[in-house]
Subunit: 428 residues, 2 copies
């Protein structure tokens, strides 16, 4: 793990554009799904996932069966989390508005939900039902009518899918689940097949093939983002509890070797104590190999001359998760320029937000907090501008409009106004 002065830390962003071969594969798969639709989905699934499936859609019977494989306590905690997430996202919902002028002119903005959204849920041995909640609930709060889930099938599970995923989906009222993953699933969602109707937006993370496919279909449909490796910065002063700091860093480092966990502090002593804690706690972790590799590659302890200087490093990093483990966290909140989610004080450990508190855990990674936001209800709504101009307003302002149109050489734009000025002006 690096240990260095905060002012000297250079941020290294990793962007995955894939190899030329990966790009070619993805484009070939997408074209094939566009042409041969369902037949292509089944073939690519057999090829990539090594599973032969005869139907894409998961049946309600299979979903019901999944309940037999999860315990009651899990279900109870899941439902509690669901409720908190829903309450938080309800507060993000916005109304249409209009603005009336004295001359009767009305200008406004209409908010409407997207109609149909696709959620990609990664497969593999670990299942993340919490991500199902985080993707689906903002869409539901926005008012999206049709939400469809795709996830790669494996051998085992229910219909090759982890039961916790099916249960989470069912608890949310999702009825349309397809056992298909990879670039082929993204193509199906973007362009449609006999079985899968196309969607307006695709959300959810996946492997490199999924990321490249999302980049490719972007424009034909909306996508949420291209997810990068996950990260945390703990911003701490000398009074922070080193045991908590280290535990929170490890909770990020355990995700995968690409994950990054960074401590920024003005206290040499805390830095030292956190190092010791990391070592101790690591030795007790079952996932220590992953966490160790992550710390070795991407972990860092940055010592700043002052907390002010430390905050500059935080803003350069633009962390996905930022913990303010300082005596007076509110004093620092306004100084944070770039962060996906901000956890304040010693009891707001990152997993509180990952699972339970209510805010979304799908956050801007890889420094993109400079310009993007946690997944939220706005991501599932679209706006339309509304313009109602009165005759009076047109007669009053028509000349400005024609002048600007002519200045841009757009004659027919000017004439569309002039024909009205001529006709309506004469009637006065």
């Amino acid at each position: 793990m690096k240990k260095m002065k905060a002012s000297q830390f250079a941020v290294d962003r990793q962007f995955e554009y894939g190899t030329p071969e990966q790009n070619e594969t993805v484009q070939a798969v997408i074209r094939d799904v566009q042409e041969r639709k369902d037949a292509a989905l089944l073939e690519w699934t057999e090829k990539f996932d090594r599973v032969r499936i005869d139907q894409l859609k998961v049946s309600q019977k299979q979903i019901d069966d999944a309940y037999g494989q999860v315990d009651e306590a899990f279900l109870n905690s899941l439902r509690k989390a669901m409720q908190n997430i829903r309450v938080f996202h309800e507060k993000q919902k916005r109304s249409s508005w209009m603005d009336l002028q004295p001359d009767g002119t009305m200008l406004g903005q209409v908010m409407r939900p997207l109609k149909r959204v696709g959620v990609y849920v990664p497969g593999g041995k670990a299942a993340y039902p919490s991500s199902v909640l985080m993707n689906v609930i903002p869409a539901q709060v926005a008012g999206v009518e049709e939400i469809v889930m795709v996830t790669p099938p494996a051998s085992g599970g229910v219909a090759g899918i982890h039961p916790a995923i099916l249960v989470a989906a069912n608890e949310l009222g999702i009825r349309e689940i397809y056992g298909v993953g990879g670039a082929q699933a993204i193509a199906a969602l973007a362009y449609g097949t006999e079985t899968i109707q196309p969607v307006d937006k695709i959300c959810g993370p996946g492997n490199i093939f999924v990321a490249l496919a999302k980049r490719y279909v972007y424009g034909a449909v909306a996508i949420d983002s291209i997810a990068g490796p996950t990260d945390i910065v703990v911003f701490a002063d000398g009074k922070a509890n080193p045991e908590y700091v280290a535990a929170d860093m490890l909770s990020q480092a355990e995700h995968d070797e690409m994950a990054s966990a960074i401590l920024v502090t003005d206290s040499q002593q805390l830095a030292q104590q956190v190092e010791e804690q990391l070592e101790q706690q690591l030795s007790r972790l079952q996932r220590r190999e992953i966490a160790q590799a992550s710390l070795d590659k991407n972990g860092a302890i940055l010592i700043a001359d002052s907390l002010e200087e430390g905050m500059q490093a935080v803003n350069r990093i633009a962390p996905e998760h930022l913990e303010l483990m300082v005596e007076e966290p509110l004093r620092w909140l306004g100084r944070v320029e770039n962060a996906g989610a901000i956890f304040m004080g010693p009891y707001s450990s990152e997993p509180v937000g990952d699972y339970f508190a209510g805010p979304n855990h799908i956050l801007p990674t890889n420094g993109t907090a400079r310009f993007s936001s946690p997944l939220n209800v706005d991501d599932f709504m679209k706006k339309s501008s509304v313009i109602y101009f009165t005759k009076e307003a047109l007669l009053e302002n028509g000349e400005h409009i024609t002048r600007l149109a002519y200045s841009e050489g757009l004659e027919a734009h000017a004439k569309a106004i002039e024909v009205r000025l001529r006709k309506e002006g004469n009637q006065e």
Copy 2:
């Protein structure tokens, strides 16, 4: 021009992914700018724009000179438009919020402006100062501190740039303008050079090379959208004025041959009259060749059995601009599912919105109104979630959090909570 039943109209979306050669060129240019920075910008400008420049940045002297080449009346109309656009976008601005729970827990959402934004302004013979206003004002209202403009240089103009562009930029207080365009300008904005600092987001339309470059750098920076050909749908009943309908269709058709203008009506008679008017008005247009080609290729008159059926076609098309030229436009507003901007009644001609009323004229094209929005203040802000959990809240809910973490196999997540429960719980 096609004339057919509305129910039979099939929407044909055109997505520009470029030829393999164009993609290779763009990637080569981007890599070169990443490596050789300013030197690469100058060379590619000489190669593509056939202009040899010795400095990238436009000087204040040059900007001041541009004022000598625009007239006072234009400037007056531009300023009026500027004010209207600013007033409308001010209404889009949103505040940070927080939500306090009885146990002292605070959850919230902080809104912050992006720090630095780049606006691409296309070159060519025609200049569109209105687009400068529409790109820059929402960013300024959001609170973006640094806004930089890039535009390809040509021979002529002031520093190779149309004076109206420089004047519009200066009126808005933009001081950082670079005479560079194409994929090389996008690369400079995304990754930075000696002269041009990198930005957080790139906005504005351009040619195919610009579009491909934006698609490529997406992720390293934010982009607004990939613009497609422009379009209008006029939704009209038998009482609509055919002269106005035709004039508004032509105001769209004159943009370029790819533009599309469609009438949707339940009145055979109006359809007939609009056809006649199109012919008459076309003959008087200087830009008739472009408008004629656009109507031939992409124009259509769609006859619906009822306005209800007509509205279904409108929603399938998801127009960029939608005019509701019907007796009671408000009755139809709620039925519109997909449209970038909606113009209500006979006096809300599309150019009213293009230039003057206040709402943005940068709108979702190519059917993307199904999932995207007019350019707006939100596009220049980012959100951060804020979580402040109290000790009480953690002790109360910790068990749910650890249970969910263990269910996903994320042991260190659970332990970050457990270390606190053990320590804080014992103190009680």
